[in-house]
Subunit: 215 residues, 2 copies
């Protein structure tokens, strides 16, 4: 069950509600990571959404509701990205699958950098249920990456000492694009970041290094 199932709305058009809530969640995530959840008030969120406070209250009941919208939206996007990747990559050779995995995941972080940053800054302030959902999603991302690495080890394409730790590195280095954008953003583009991290990772694990040439 989503955290937002119980949020009341005065509109009876489910598509309109969904599209407005998507907009509210995206704008609110930006305000939360800039000011912090505790220091943000509903007026500021309405401003960031370009909506009147009265109109905002047609779609949410409180600041806490908005927090749940932010979390549901972020986690739903993440889950969709990971599930699509699993489907698409199940029959792809490990090195190419890993390239595609890193590219898709890191671009996802780039597109929704605010949500990644939000999870690093605010997870501790959430209710136990919301917090656990974020930690579960973060663990799942590592597990999916680890599984992909293990497949490459089994096929003889990769040699990896500790696939869990490497998977954790891959996931968290992706997050860093959002979390340390004040540093990285001045020094390289996201596509350069993706290319260099991918090559550096493949270099460590490919049994036959010539495979990197195709990348």
């Amino acid at each position: 069950m989503q955290l937002t199932d119980d949020i009341r709305s005065s509109s009876s058009d489910p598509e309109l509600v969904a599209s407005r809530r998507e907009h509210i969640a995206r704008c609110a995530t930006h305000v939360f990571v800039k000011k912090g959840y505790d220091r943000t008030n509903v007026d500021e969120i309405a401003d960031a959404c370009g909506m009147s406070k009265g109109n905002l209250y047609n779609y949410v009941g409180s600041k806490e509701d908005i927090l749940y919208l932010v979390i549901d939206r972020g986690l739903t996007n993440l889950t969709k990205t990971i599930e699509d990747l699993c489907d698409r990559l199940s029959n792809v050779a490990p090195a190419d699958a890993l390239r595609e995995f890193i590219k898709t995941l890191y671009r996802g972080v780039g597109e929704d950098a605010d949500f990644t940053l939000f999870t690093y800054q605010e997870t501790k302030n959430l209710s136990p249920t919301a917090r656990q959902r974020i930690l579960d999603a973060a663990s799942r991302d590592v597990a999916v990456c680890e599984e992909l690495l293990r497949r490459g080890v089994e096929s003889g394409e990769f040699k990896i000492n500790n696939p869990m730790l490497l998977a954790h590195n891959i996931i968290t280095l992706g997050h860093m694009w959002a979390v340390r954008r004040w540093f990285l953003g001045k020094r390289c583009t996201l596509e350069e970041y993706i290319r260099e991290q991918t090559e550096s990772i493949l270099k460590t694990i490919l049994v036959d290094e010539r495979t990197t040439i195709e990348s």
Copy 2:
């Protein structure tokens, strides 16, 4: 100038003030990362320090003073660690210097995990001066590591495509021991984490891979 230079104290014994403030800063960092700065009150900090509120106010004037103590203590420790490393490693061969750099820095993160976590969670809430000091220290750590990597490239021991990015990876993967301890802490020890990250990094950059055997 330190942010804490102006904090008033009712004690005239500078050593006592310094030792009490060290204690207060360490305990307060822990409470701040657990509850968030905004949600913490001075009573809770006094509790965590095992001091009465009245006694606490002998050494600080406000919650904001405590925040500055936390930042000064964390940054002073970090700077000391990095400066000691620079002195110690200036004449050490690059691969050994890199091993020692990672080990010392990651152990430092382990010893003061709360402060690392604090910088990831709370930097955005600080005054511009305090925020800039934290970002400057974070940039300096990357620059020192990058310099060490470049020295290895110049001596022919390392082959590195992008020393800045690798230095950033080394520093942030160290931070992850603190920031993602909910994940890593269940899966490996800090010493295992240090060993495996070091070997994986050296494997990517050593021109002559046999050098890894001594580690």
